[in-house]
C-alpha cells in the first residue's frame, strides 16, 4: 500500500495553485490534509498525474470575522475549529460537530476545505455548512466566485468545483445569540463515519414557538441533505417532544442510501428521524438556555 508516482507540486500562492489546476484539470488532485486522499493513493484508487499540495499557502489558513460572517480558510486544520475562541463564540455548532470528525490525529491534519471538497455524504463539515447556510468561496482562472453550500454539494463525492478551480474559504453567517444549535450523530465506534447524523439550528419566538429551523442530515443519501420538509412543518409549532418526533418523520423519504456492511436501508430510514429529532431537541434546549440568560 504505497502511493503511485505523481508530480508533486507545492505552490505557495492560490494563484499558482489555480494555474496548476488550469494546466492539469482532472489529472490533478489537491492535497490538503490528506486524511482521505492519502488512503486513496496508498490503495491506488486515485492516480493523479500531478498532486497539488496547498499546505504552503498561508492565505488559506486564516480564521477571520467580517461583519456578520465568519470566514474560515480552506487550509485551516479541523482541530482549530474546536480550539479557536472566535469559532466557538460566533458559530458554536462548528466545534461541536467537528469533534465528531475521525480522531484527534485526523483533525490535527485534516482541513476544513479538504472535507468540503471531498464531499463525503457522511461527513460533518458538509452537513454543518448546509445547516448553517454557509457559502463556499472558490477561485478559478477568471477570479473568485461564491456558491451556496446547498448547491455546492451535488452528489456522491461530487461538488460544483470546476476542474480548474481551487476551494479557498467558507463563509459562515454568525449564529444569532438567541439561536440554539444541536448536533447528533450515530456511529458504530468512536471516530467512525456516521451511520446517520443531523445538525440543527433553531430560533424560537417569545412564545417559545419555532420561528426558524435549519437542519442538515448526513449519512442517508449520496450527499448531505437539507431537511426542508421537517423545517417548514415546524415553523410556528411549539417545540414539544411529540411535535418534534412527529415532524422528524418527514426526513424518511429523503433516505436513499441502500444496504451496506454497517447498516441496512431500513435502519437508516429509522435512524434518520431519530437523529433529526434528537438534534432539534438539543437545539431547542440550547435556545432555552440562552433565552434564560445562561
Amino acid at each position: 500500500m504505497k502511493p503511485p508516482p505523481f508530480m508533486y507540486c507545492d505552490p505557495e500562492s492560490v494563484d499558482e495553485a489555480v494555474a496548476l489546476k488550469s494546466e492539469y484539470g482532472n489529472d490533478s488532485l489537491v492535497l490538503a490534509g490528506g486524511q482521505s486522499l492519502l488512503p486513496m493513493l496508498t490503495m491506488r484508487l486515485a492516480r493523479p498525474e500531478a498532486l497539488i499540495d496547498i499546505n504552503k499557502i498561508g492565505d488559506l489558513q486564516k480564521i477571520e470575522r467580517r461583519a456578520d460572517i465568519l470566514e474560515v480558510g480552506a487550509g485551516v486544520r479541523q482541530y482549530e475549529l474546536e480550539d479557536h475562541p472566535l469559532v466557538g463564540e460566533l458559530v458554536p455548532l462548528l466545534p461541536e460537530a467537528t469533534g465528531h470528525i475521525g480522531h484527534i490525529e485526523n483533525r490535527h491534519r485534516g482541513t476544513v476545505g479538504g472535507s468540503l471538497a471531498h464531499a463525503d455524504s457522511a461527513a460533518e463539515l458538509p452537513c454543518t455548512a448546509v445547516a448553517l447556510e454557509a457559502t463556499v468561496v472558490v477561485q478559478g482562472p477568471s477570479g473568485t466566485r461564491t456558491i451556496m453550500a446547498q448547491d455546492f454539494f451535488q452528489g456522491w463525492m461530487t461538488t460544483a468545483l470546476e476542474p480548474e478551480e481551487v476551494l479557498v474559504a467558507i463563509r459562515y453567517p454568525v449564529t444569532p445569540w438567541t439561536a440554539g444549535h444541536g448536533f447528533v450523530e450515530v456511529a458504530r465506534r468512536v471516530g467512525d463515519l456516521a451511520l446517520a447524523g443531523a445538525a440543527a439550528v433553531v430560533n424560537l419566538d417569545e412564545d417559545g414557538r419555532f420561528t426558524s429551523v435549519s437542519v442538515g442530515v448526513l449519512g442517508i443519501s449520496d450527499t448531505t441533505v437539507r431537511a426542508s420538509a421537517v423545517e417548514s412543518a415546524l415553523i410556528g409549532e411549539a417545540p414539544t417532544e411529540e411535535n418534534i418526533a412527529r415532524v422528524a418523520e418527514e426526513i424518511v423519504p429523503s433516505v436513499t442510501s441502500g444496504d451496506d456492511l454497517h447498516a441496512t436501508r431500513a435502519y437508516r430510514r429509522h435512524l434518520a428521524s431519530v437523529v433529526v429529532s434528537r438534534a432539534i431537541t438539543a437545539a431547542v434546549a440550547r435556545a432555552h438556555e440562552r433565552s434564560n440568560g445562561k
Binding site: 503511485p4 508516482p5 458504530r188 456492511l261 447498516a263 431500513a266 435512524l271
Partner: protein, 818 residues
C-alpha cells in the same frame, strides 16, 4: 485446593500461600523495556544487504480459471526484477503444508484457478515495495469466470460448481459423532430448546501483519526470517514444499506484533518468500500489507451455521445436546477440521450431562480459508452451549446463575472424564461463580434494570456466562476426527536450554519463536528465578532457529506457559544436580547435605558454608581437574517436556482419548445498556473471573483476560469479514473491519481463582485464550436481557445496530398486535 484473589483491589498473595518467592506475584515483564523504546525487532525492521521486496497481485473475482498472466509491461519497468505466477509454483515446488484432505492442495500463488477474491495470483519482486506495487499495476490477467460458490449449504448440493474438481465434492469432511444416547435423553426431557445460530467470520487481526524475509545463505542454506510461529515443529514441511532438503532450510524466529492465532503456522508467507528468494537468488522481503492480511491471511476465524438442541428436566438439569453444524471453511483446509476437535475438548462445558451428538459438515466455498483465532473453534462451541443454557433458563424461569449452579461438575468429581474421552483435570466452578457474583451486586443491577425501564424506558441488560477454557493441546487432536488419518502423531513437546555462564549469569534458550505479545521471557525468567533464587530481570532469553532447535511445538492452544515451565524446570533440575555435585566435591560434603538457596549452594545445617553460583560456574568451566571424576566441563542443560497427559484415541473411534486435559474455567458478567432507537450498546460494568490454575503473573494473566474479552466483544458486536452473495469481499480496510477502540470496551474488573492442575509443574494451567472464550456468550446474553421486552434473541454474531433496531421494531409490532 482452591485459592482466590481479585486483581489489584483484593489481591491475596498466592506466593505466600504456596511458598513460591517469584511465581504468583505481579512483576514487570522482561520483554517490555525494548518494546517501550520502539525496538521490538519486528520483521519489517529487518533489512538485509541487497534485499528486494515483493508485492502481490490479488484476484478480483471469486472463482475463475486463469487463462494467462501477462507480465510483459511489468518486466519493462526499471527496478522490477522478476514476476512469478502459479505456473512457476506448479513447475518448481510442491503444494504447501496441509493437514486437510490431500485432494485440496494449495500453493502460495494460485495454480490454474482462483478460488476467492484476494487469492494471490502473481508476485512482483522489485528493488522497493513502491516499485513492486507499480509492477503489480502493470500485470494483465485473463480470467475465465466460473460460478461463485458462496453459501456453504448450497455448496453441498450436487448441482453446485466445484472448487476442487479433484476432491469431487465441496464437502471437505462430514462426520457424525454420538456419545451416550441422545434420542433417549431427549425423549425423557421435560423441555427441549432449539436454536438456529450463525457465528460470523472474524479474525485475530494483529496490528502487525505476517511477513518473512528469505535469503539464500551460507553453504546453500535457505534462511527464512519469519514472524510466524511453530517452525521448529514443522519447518521440514516447508522444506518439502520448496523442494529443499530439510537440513538446507533454516527458519529464523522473529518476534511477532500480535497473533491471536493468525500467525500460528502462517506458512504461506514464508513459503512464498523462500520461493521468490530461490528464484531470484537474492534476499526477498514479503511483508503483508493490511489489505493482503484482511483478504488473504489464511487465518479467517470460524464461520459456522448451527442447528442446535438442548434437553432439560423441569428442575433445570441438562440431559443432552444435539449439534448439527455446517462450517464454512473457505477455499482450502490447511488445518483440517481441528477446530471441531477443539469443541470436543470441552463439549459439555462445565456441565454434567452425558449424552451428546455432533454432526459436522466442513464445506469448501470461494472465501479465504480458515486458520486459527483465539479459541480455535472451542469459543464458538462455548457460545452455542451458553445460548442454549440461557434459553432453557428463561423457559424454566430460572436465573442464569441458578441453572448453571445446578449443572456444574462438582469439585469432588475431578479428574472428570467427559463424553468423547477428554479429561478435565481439576476445577471448582461454584467458587468461580461465587467469586464473580461477589464482585458485582446483581440484585442492585436487576432492581435498577426494572426501575430504568419503568421510569425512563431505558434498556439495561445483564449477561452471565460460565465456560471452559481448555489448555495444552496434544497433537492427537490434529487427526482423531478424520476417518483415516495419514499421520497419527502423538508428540507435542516443548524444550528449554538453561546455561549458566562462567560468571554465573543465566541464559535461557527457548526452542521456538514464542513472543507474539504473550510473556514467554517473563515466564521463563520467573521460573528460573524460582529454581535458582536469582533476580528474574538478570536472565537473558534467546530463541533458537530451526537448525539449532530441540523438539518444540510453540505457543498455541494456551499451552506455552505450562509446557515451557515444565521444560525449564526439567533442565533446572539437571543443572541443580550438577551444581550440588560440584559443591559437594569442592566442600567435601555429602551431596544430600547440600541445598541450593538464593543463588548459592550451602550446607543445610550450616548455611554459612557454601559456594555462590559464580564460584561454582568458574570451577565448572575452567577447572576441569577440580570437578568430580567423570564430570565434563560447562553448565548447560536441556530438557524436553512432553505433553503431561495424552492418551491414544480408541481404535474404533468410540472415544478420542485424553487430548486437552488441563482445564481452566471462567465466569463473565456483563452489564450494558442498549439504546433501542439507535441499536447502539454501551457497557456499564464488566466482571471477569478466571481460574487458570496456579498463576505465574497475575497482572499478565489479567491482560490476557481483558484483551481476549475485548476481542470477544469485537466478534459479538463489531468485527466481520464479510462476503456478499456474489463472493465479493466487503471488508477490505479497517474502515470496514471494525476493531474495538478504547471507546467501546468497558473498564474490566478482574478476579482470579486458583485451582492448581495435578498434572503440570507448579499446577499452572493455560490462560492465553482468555476472555475470548467467554465474552461472546456473556455479551449476547446481556443484549437479549436488555431488550427482553422486545423479545430480542441474538442468533448471529456480529449483532449490529440494524439487527437490534429491527428486533426492537418487530417486538413493538408484536406487542401492539398482541
Amino acid at each position: 485446593m482452591t485459592t482466590e484473589h481479585t486483581d489489584t483491589t483484593e489481591h491475596t498473595d498466592t506466593a505466600q500461600k504456596s511458598g513460591y518467592k517469584y511465581i504468583g506475584k505481579d512483576r514487570k515483564r522482561v520483554e517490555d523495556p525494548r518494546l517501550l523504546v520502539g525496538r521490538g525487532g519486528y520483521i519489517a525492521d529487518l533489512k538485509l544487504p541487497g534485499m528486494l521486496h515483493a508485492a502481490i497481485l490479488r484476484s478480483p473475482v471469486p472463482h475463475a480459471r486463469i487463462r494467462s498472466v501477462d507480465a510483459t509491461e511489468a518486466l519493462k519497468l526499471p527496478g522490477v526484477v522478476a514476476v512469478l505466477t502459479g505456473e512457476d509454483c506448479k513447475a518448481k515446488m510442491n503444494p504447501c503444508m496441509n493437514f486437510g484432505p490431500a485432494t485440496v492442495a494449495q500453493y502460495p500463488l494460485a495454480v490454474d484457478k482462483v478460488r476467492y477474491v484476494g487469492e494471490a495470483v502473481a508476485a512482483v519482486v522489485a528493488e522497493s515495495r513502491y516499485l513492486a506495487e507499480d509492477g503489480v499495476d502493470l500485470l494483465e490477467v485473463d480470467y475465465e469466470d466460473l460460478p461463485p460458490v458462496t453459501d456453504p449449504r448450497a455448496a453441498m448440493e450436487p448441482e453446485s460448481a466445484l472448487l476442487h474438481e479433484e476432491h469431487g465434492s465441496n464437502i471437505g469432511c462430514e462426520r457424525t459423532f454420538e456419545f451416550g444416547d441422545v434420542n433417549a435423553a431427549f425423549a425423557g426431557a421435560d423441555l427441549v430448546v432449539e436454536d438456529t445460530l450463525h457465528w460470523g467470520r472474524s479474525a485475530g487481526m494483529p496490528m502487525e501483519t505476517a511477513g518473512a524475509v528469505a535469503q539464500p545463505g551460507f553453504n546453500g542454506v535457505l534462511e527464512i526470517y519469519c514472524n510466524s510461529l511453530n517452525f521448529s515443529y514443522f519447518s521440514f514441511l516447508i522444506a518439502g514444499a520448496l523442494r529443499v532438503p530439510s537440513n538446507k532450510l533454516t527458519m529464523k524466529p522473529v518476534p511477532a506484533g500480535g497473533s491471536f492465532g493468525s500467525k500460528l503456522a502462517a506458512h504461506k508467507v514464508p513459503t512464498l518468500a523462500g520461493f521468490l528468494a530461490l528464484r531470484v537468488g537474492r534476499p526477498v522481503s514479503y511483508v503483508e500489507d493490511r489489505i493482503d492480511h484482511l483478504v488473504n491471511s489464511d487465518h479467517h476465524g470460524c464461520d459456522r451455521f448451527y442447528e442446535a438442541r438442548m434437553g432439560f428436566r423441569a428442575d433445570g438439569t441438562i440431559v443432552g445436546l444435539d449439534i448439527d453444524v455446517v462450517d464454512d471453511y473457505g477455499a482450502y483446509m490447511q488445518f483440517g477440521v481441528g477446530h471441531h476437535g477443539n469443541a470436543f475438548s470441552q463439549v459439555v462445558g462445565p456441565y454434567r450431562f452425558r449424552d451428546v451428538r455432533y454432526r459436522l459438515r466442513a464445506v469448501l466455498t470461494d472465501k479465504c480459508q480458515q486458520g486459527a483465532y483465539r479459541g480455535f473453534g472451542s469459543e464458538v462451541h462455548n457460545w452455542v452451549l451458553e445460548r442454549l443454557v440461557d434459553s432453557g433458563a428463561a423457559r424454566l424461569g430460572l436465573a442464569p446463575e441458578e441453572i448453571r449452579r445446578r449443572n456444574f461438575i462438582q469439585p469432588d468429581q475431578f479428574p472428570y472424564t467427559i463424553p468423547g474421552g477428554n479429561v478435565y483435570d481439576s476445577g471448582d466452578y461454584p467458587a468461580v461463580l461465587d467469586k464473580a457474583l461477589s464482585m458485582i451486586d446483581l440484585d442492585r443491577w436487576r432492581a435498577e434494570q426494572k426501575r430504568l425501564w419503568a421510569q425512563e424506558g431505558r434498556c439495561i441488560g445483564i449477561g452471565l456466562a460460565t465456560t471452559q477454557e481448555r489448555s495444552v493441546f496434544s497433537s492427537t487432536e490434529f487427526w482423531f476426527l478424520v476417518e483415516k488419518p495419514v499421520l497419527p502423531v502423538t508428540s507435542s513437546p516443548e524444550s528449554a536450554t538453561v546455561t549458566i555462564d562462567p560468571t554465573g549469569q543465566f541464559q535461557l534458550m527457548l526452542h521456538c519463536q514464542s513472543m507474539w505479545g504473550n510473556s514467554p521471557e517473563t515466564v521463563g525468567a520467573t521460573v528460573l528465578a524460582e529454581e535458582f533464587g536469582i533476580p528474574p530481570e538478570s536472565v537473558n532469553v534467546r530463541y533458537a532457529d530451526s537448525a539449532h532447535a530441540l523438539p518444540s511445538t510453540g505457543p498455541g492452544g494456551s499451552r506455552y506457559t505450562v509446557m515451557v515451565a515444565g521444560a525449564i524446570r526439567g533442565a533446572s533440575r539437571k543443572l541443580r544436580k550438577k551444581l550440588i555435585h560440584i559443591a559437594a566435591h569442592t566442600l567435601e560434603v555429602a551431596a544430600e547435605d547440600l541445598e541450593l538457596v538464593d543463588a548459592r549452594v550451602q550446607v543445610k545445617d550450616a548455611p554459612e558454608t557454601g559456594l555462590t553460583l559464580a564460584e561454582l560456574a568458574g570451577t565448572a568451566y575452567f577447572f576441569a581437574l577440580s570437578l568430580p571424576e567423570g564430570m565434563t566441563s560447562g553448565l548447560e542443560e536441556s530438557y524436553t517436556y512432553d505433553h503431561p497427559y495424552t492418551t491414544l484415541p480408541a481404535p474404533d473411534g468410540s472415544d478420542f482419548g485424553v487430548f486437552y486435559p488441563i482445564m481452566g474455567h471462567a465466569c463473565h458478567i456483563a452489564v450494558l445498556e442498549v439504546d433501542p432507537d439507535t441499536g447502539i450498546p454501551s457497557f456499564l460494568d464488566y466482571v471477569a473471573v478466571h481460574d487458570a490454575g496456579t498463576i505465574v503473573n497475575p497482572k499478565s494473566l489479567g491482560g490476557h483476560v481483558t484483551g481476549g474479552a475485548t476481542q470477544g466483544i469485537g466478534t459479538t458486536l463489531y468485527e466481520e469479514l464479510a462476503y456478499d452473495e456474489d463472493g465479493q469481499f466487503l471488508s477490505w480496510t479497517f474502515r470496514d473491519y471494525l476493531i474495538p477502540t478504547a471507546g467501546e470496551v468497558p473498564p474490566f474488573r478482574i478476579g482470579h481463582v486458583e485451582t492448581p492442575s495435578p498434572f503440570t509443574e507448579y499446577g499452572v494451567k493455560g490462560g492465553g485464550e482468555g476472555g475470548r472464550m467467554v465474552a461472546p456468550a456473556a455479551v449476547s446474553a446481556a443484549i437479549d436481557d436488555a431488550l427482553r421486552e422486545y423479545g430480542m434473541r441474538v442468533r448471529q454474531v456480529p449483532v449490529k445496530p440494524s439487527d437490534i433496531v429491527a428486533a426492537v421494531q418487530a417486538g413493538t409490532v408484536r406487542a401492539e398486535a398482541g
